[in-house]
């Protein structure tokens, strides 16, 4: 049992880190608390499934699936950018308004999916017969290769993005804006475009995480699936500290393992794992609001 916790906890944490990274980027750089982040996760999974189903003209192949993944992620990025431009940009000064707007959008997406796809679950998986549907045993635990892919892909993307932020010009611009928006604007950085780019990247990360997690765990998509990743995102980011990349990684592992422990040790734990990130978040906010590595919380005056 311990081995299960360690292995599955680690795998889940890896992908959660990617999800949380998207959330913390958009918050750290533009101050936007995007409550539709979970919706991007959901849209990624749904679009992946939809596009895969479309290409039934040819037999299901790995390349089809990869194409579907890429297309889905790009589509979500476009949707994210559109949301930013139309719904968020006009009210960007007001954090709370942004939250109300994004949660409205989340509800709207949920209803749209409900209308288009109905309540029944949609299958989200890699092509049958591909290596990803097989598994291997290690330390007495059966692990699917799809999970391995999820973990490896997430970690690679995470590292890639960290490098991007640290070394490229755009990445530096992002860091500049997150530290001091006005100074950055005075230096000629087009904050609006930067925000939109960040939003697109954040959406892409969420969509990718959505596809990776769903194909390796539940293998189906449902209309309410945006709630859990949303809870995870803000729990991890608040635990790790808003705006801290290192924090997202560490927070992801803490919460990932906490969830896994509950899921495996508690009876019917799977149903109640939603409580874990939420409780962690509430506790952190009440006891140490800036999290582990967060930036300073605003002062009185």
């Amino acid at each position: 049992m311990i081995e299960e916790i360690i292995i599955f906890g680690g795998i889940a944490s890896g992908v959660y880190a990617l999800l949380a990274l998207g959330f913390t980027l958009i918050y750290g750089i533009s101050g936007i608390v995007n409550l539709a982040h979970g919706s991007f996760y959901m849209l990624g999974a749904y679009l992946f499934s939809f596009i895969t189903a479309l290409s039934l003209l040819e037999p299901e192949t790995m390349s089809n699936s990869i194409l579907a993944l890429v297309l889905a992620v790009i589509l979500v990025a476009i949707i994210g950018s559109a949301i930013f431009r139309l719904a968020i940009h006009p009210i960007i000064g007001d954090e709370v308004a942004v939250m109300v707007v994004t949660v409205s959008l989340a509800i709207i997406f949920q209803q749209l999916i409900l209308i288009i796809f109905g309540v029944s679950f949609l299958p989200v998986m890699w092509p049958k017969g591909s290596i990803l549907t097989t598994s291997f045993r290690i330390f007495g635990v059966t692990v699917d290769y799809s999970r391995v892919l999820a973990f490896v892909a997430s970690m690679i993307l995470f590292i890639a993005l960290s490098i991007f932020i640290k070394w490229t010009k755009i990445g530096k611009a992002m860091r500049a804006v997150s530290q001091d928006r006005e100074a950055a604007m005075l230096m000629g950085i087009n904050t609006e475009r930067l925000y939109m780019l960040t939003m697109a990247i954040s959406a892409m990360l969420a969509a990718t995480a959505g596809i990776l997690i769903t194909t390796s765990t539940t293998r189906h998509a449902g209309v309410y699936m945006w709630l859990h990743p949303l809870a995870l995102s803000f729990a991890i980011v608040i635990l790790g500290g808003l705006g801290s990349i290192k924090g997202s990684l560490i927070g992801a592992f803490i919460i990932g393992y906490a969830e896994q422990t509950v899921a495996i040790t508690v009876p019917e734990g799977g149903a109640i794992i939603g409580v874990v990130p939420l409780t962690v978040m509430v506790l952190v906010l009440l006891l140490r609001p800036k999290g582990l590595f967060g930036k300073r919380i605003e002062m009185e005056e």
Partner: protein, 368 residues
């Protein structure tokens, strides 16, 4: 902490100081509501109106907390659900009649308000919104957890006794309507009095500028808790009434969508004004259950069109989109926008007389 997109209508306060129209309007409004059942409406419409009455109480409670004191709550359904489950559980385990269980549920709601309120005070703005949003999600997850089914009965929920089991259906609805209307009226009066009392003034000061309120010697924490408790009490009241009306308490009482209803409703009716929450609730439910379900299809049938299949779900999209568009374009809600425009016209008209008129009014009040 100022919430720039939530604006309180100070006309309620003006009513207190000037002593005119809004109160009259409110009386007329209630008179209309009082006479509605005499129009011979079917049980279905009565059902909608009763439901609207209940949610109006809920929206009022939210408005006091958010629109008047400025504490963002995106999870007010928590107290609604606590009210509903308390009354149902008390009935189930102790067989107590509803005129005992409902007040107890209200008290439990107040207790919950106090418990939840204290930690919530330490977090500001967006964090408060997140925390308030998390609580009902946590509670509903726990309630739906299968090992606890013997206690909470999972998704199905717990049965609760109806209000007037001895009456035939049609009369039941009418009785329930008047009962809920009475409770709504009492709640509205109480909340109105609180909002326009000196305590209410302090609430608004916290909404406007917490730091300045502290500088005036106000114990902001005390007043925030007070607002929390009053608000949670009325939300629990609404929840407990609904449990007995629908004869069931289930996890949907904690849903995010329910927490979102006050936002929609106050956008339609105007936030921060007491009557706005009530009017908005009625507009919402009339639109939701009547206009969109009956009138619209009739209209479309004239053009040989029918409602698309998923229209049930689309309605929520419509209302949420309204909220969306309004926050982005008109942060003060429709009703406020209209009354603002009217007020602008009126001001433009008597610009000259305004100054001395105010002084005259004060002198008159001074004499009384």
């Amino acid at each position: 902490m100022a919430i720039s997109y939530l604006r309180r209508a100070y006309s309620s306060f003006a009513a207190h100081v000037f002593d005119i129209p809004p109160r009259l309007m409110a009386v007329l409004f209630f008179l209309i509501l009082l006479l509605l059942p005499t129009c011979g409406l079917s049980s279905y419409y009565m059902w909608i109106l009763i439901y609207a009455n209940i949610i109006a109480i809920f929206a009022l409670s939210w408005d006091l907390l958010v629109g008047r004191t400025g504490l963002i709550s995106l999870g007010h359904a928590l107290f609604f659900g606590i009210g509903g489950y308390s009354t149902a559980l008390l009935f189930r385990h102790y067989g107590l009649p509803l005129w005992i269980t409902i007040p107890v549920a209200v008290l439990l709601g107040a207790l919950a308000g106090m418990i939840i309120g204290f930690p919530c005070l330490r977090v500001k703005g967006p964090y408060l919104a997140l925390v308030t949003m998390a609580f009902p999600l946590i509670v509903s997850n726990i309630i739906k957890w299968s090992p606890l089914n013997p206690v909470f009965k999972g998704e199905i929920g717990i049965r609760a006794s109806p209000f007037f089991p001895f009456l035939p259906i049609r009369q039941q609805r009418i009785a329930e309507y008047y009962l809920t209307l009475l409770l709504l009226f009492i709640s509205a009066v109480i909340i109105y009095k609180i909002a326009n009392s000196k305590t209410g003034i302090v609430f608004i000061s916290i909404l406007d500028d917490e730091v300045a309120a502290k500088a005036c010697g106000i114990n902001v924490t005390k007043y925030k808790i007070m607002s929390f408790i009053i608000s949670s009490m009325f939300a629990s009241l609404a929840g407990s009434i609904q449990a007995h009306f629908l004869k069931n308490a289930n996890p949907s009482m904690f849903s995010l969508t329910l927490s979102f209803v006050p936002i929609i409703v106050t956008f339609l009716g105007g936030i921060g004004s007491i009557y706005g929450a009530i009017v908005g609730t009625y507009i919402y439910y009339i639109l939701d259950k009547y206009v969109l379900i009956y009138l619209l299809p009739v209209l479309l049938r004239n053009f040989n069109l029918a409602l698309p299949r998923g229209f049930e779900h689309a309605k929520l999209i419509i209302f949420t989109s309204i909220v969306l568009i309004f926050i982005i374009r008109w942060p003060r809600g429709i009703a406020r926008y209209v009354t603002d425009k009217l007020q602008d016209l009126e001001e433009a008209r008597d610009l000259d007389e305004r100054g001395p008129r105010i002084w005259k009014r004060y002198k008159k009040k001074e004499k009384s």
